[in-house]
Symmetry: C2
Subunit: 112 residues, 2 copies
């Protein structure tokens, strides 16, 4: 119950899915691609800290911002903790097949 | 006959399809995305000059190089004229669905 009530975006605005150029520019960075890959594979919002390794928090925050501005992510507070949600349905509607093919490729590279 | 004989790459090497990061970085530039879009839609090699508007030849050459290095394009000489070929089969094999979804999105934006 508490979780459901908290499942709202806070003051960070939710952006519409950007242009194809903006979405590709957001995805082409390896750290951001990894964030999107983890969220897509999880199929649920994840805490920020679960989305990266080897970069510091302020760098991660910068990457989250770029992904949010491209309309790929949404920031949520769940149980008092900041999470990121992949806007998979919205992106799939705007750019059918793109997330699936990108994450499939990223998963294959991660498995090597 | 002459055309078939000339259908060989010249001294410019053909690169294997790059990492997902490299391919996305190549595609995220609007001028390069447009080159790929035109080639995919044509379904055949095209002369370089048919692949861009509004940029000069040396800028276009720079973009062709980045696309070639990512394994997306191949340079061919056909009838004495330089053409670019989209390596669609090779890219589709390495990253299934990516080109289709990217070009579909680019076509929709171009139609607006």
């Amino acid at each position: 119950m508490v979780e459901v009530e908290a499942f709202h975006t806070d003051s960070h605005p939710v952006h519409p899915v950007g242009s194809l150029h903006q979405v590709l520019a957001a995805l082409q960075d390896p750290a951001r691609l990894e964030m999107v890959r983890r969220l897509r594979n999880a199929g649920a919002p994840l805490q920020c800290s679960a989305l990266y390794d080897g970069i510091n928090k302020s760098t991660a925050t910068h990457h989250f911002k770029i992904l949010r501005e491209a309309g790929l992510l949404e920031r949520l507070v769940l149980g008092g903790l900041t999470h990121q949600r992949l806007r998979a349905e919205e992106v799939d509607e705007a750019l059918p097949g793109l997330l699936a093919s990108v994450v499939e490729g990223a998963n294959r590279e991660a498995a090597r």
